[in-house]
Amino acid sequence: MALRPAGIPGYLNLREHLAVLVGLFLLGATSILSSSCGRSSAEKSITIAGSTSVQPFADRWAEVYMKKHHGLSINVQGGGSSAGIQAAKSGAAHIGMSSRDLRPEEKGLLEVIVAWDGLAIIVHPTNPVDELSIVQIQNIFAGNIRSWALVGGPDKEIHVVTREEGSGTRGAFLEMVMGRMRISKRAIVQDSNGTVREIVANDPFSIGYISLGLVNERVKAVRLDGVEASVENIEDKKYRLVRPFLFVTSGPPGPGVRDFLNFVLSREGQELIEEEGLIPVYKE
């Protein structure tokens, strides 16, 4: 009888039975799919975008964090501070990275200081000039001092290298060093910390500014008013060119992003970037 329920009123025939089963299955499948999709956007992948100065450190955090959380992928992209802030605002990225303070029109986002970074003024290692004052740096970048002879070097033209309009590093440099002065229009413009360092490493008569964490043996960071650019001097508040690295989110972050932020601010996360030359937040 069990095989022949078809004729009995109130029971479904075989075909109807199958249709209901398939329908239920589809309904279940879609609900499972949709719920897992919903979860994946919060926990299976995190997109971080913005400042190229913060990017290498965010990469480091992401690398270590992903090792601990299998199945989670963190995608770190450059693009610059302004683009990162924009991306966080629009929701294109979960986290935006900025290497400068937010402008008034960008406020309204949640911001977390994840590290402090020194700004180093760099020259070629063979350049005899070891020390410059803020005023000298201002005038070099403004194009008023054009020869190394005027600041104790050889009688050679100074090749000024700066960052492009809108860069966080440029913004921080303008704010902390230039004040109201403008960077010379004749300055060479490059679009990343790496290319600025590359040019200064190759051109014996050039000068540029990059993140302190990215200074290596191929360039020389000059002393600023007699103070060496070092992590210790920043912690002692002797070295003046310091800026915050920010992570910004639009509104309260989801659980996955929050957990990552907690890791970044944890002792382990902060020690990671301290090894790379940044100043951890808890020391400030």
Partner: protein, 285 residues
Amino acid sequence: MTSLERKESLIRITLLLVAFSAVSVLVMITFFIFGEGTPIMLRYGLKKFLFNLDWFPTQGSYGLLPMIVGSILVTSGALMIGVPFGLAGAVFLTEFSSKKMRRIIKPVIELLAGIPSVVYGFMGVVVLVPFIRETFGGPGLSVLAASIILGIMILPTIISISIDSLEAVPPSYREGSIALGATRWQTTRMVMFPAARSGILASIILGMGRAIGETMAVIMIAGNAIAIPRTPLEPVRTLTSNIALEMAYASGEHREALFATGVILFLIIMVLNTAANLTSRKRGR
């Protein structure tokens, strides 16, 4: 209507739609660029936009003249290098070399066109820029470096189109000239060149279009300063590098100004392409 005719018209309509989709993309790009770029040009003043010397977009000053001059300088520099070498190469390959040699060398030159521009830029940074810095002084990243690299980049365009147009000259022209007692060089200079003139001109204009539109290699080697260079050894910024350098960061009016830069570039390239089309159409007649 037979089934064959129906099939034929179906194919025609499909191909028409495909062709139209390519055109519609162009139309969309045009509308988009002009839509985004023209408001600021009108608001800020076209004259100021084109002739002001100060480009400080975050402080509301949008003078494009240094970049327009930069593009012109770098492109004419590239032509000064690319045209003589390119034409000499084309003449050698059509008039003075054996057919076998041409069959080997021409594809090799055309291979040059397939090298990505970032590779040219990298070669420029690693080899050319230090060489210029050490021999002539200055920072090395300069009009000169950009002109040389772009000159090399437009060689394949100039050479292969010039070869095609020299080869298209009827052999009787060359034979007639030589029969009259002219030397090879006289024949090339006085008969072949004038006969292939429009094709050669088109090759130069297309090379110019490539040079003016090139971005990656130029960003890497031109130095990108926003001042008009006083010597070929000073850095320079072109229209294309201006857009590519600042686009990632730009918002609001700054972004519009970059689109307006695109409008100017678009107009320049349109004029060049139309000129190329007109000259090569003349050849067809």
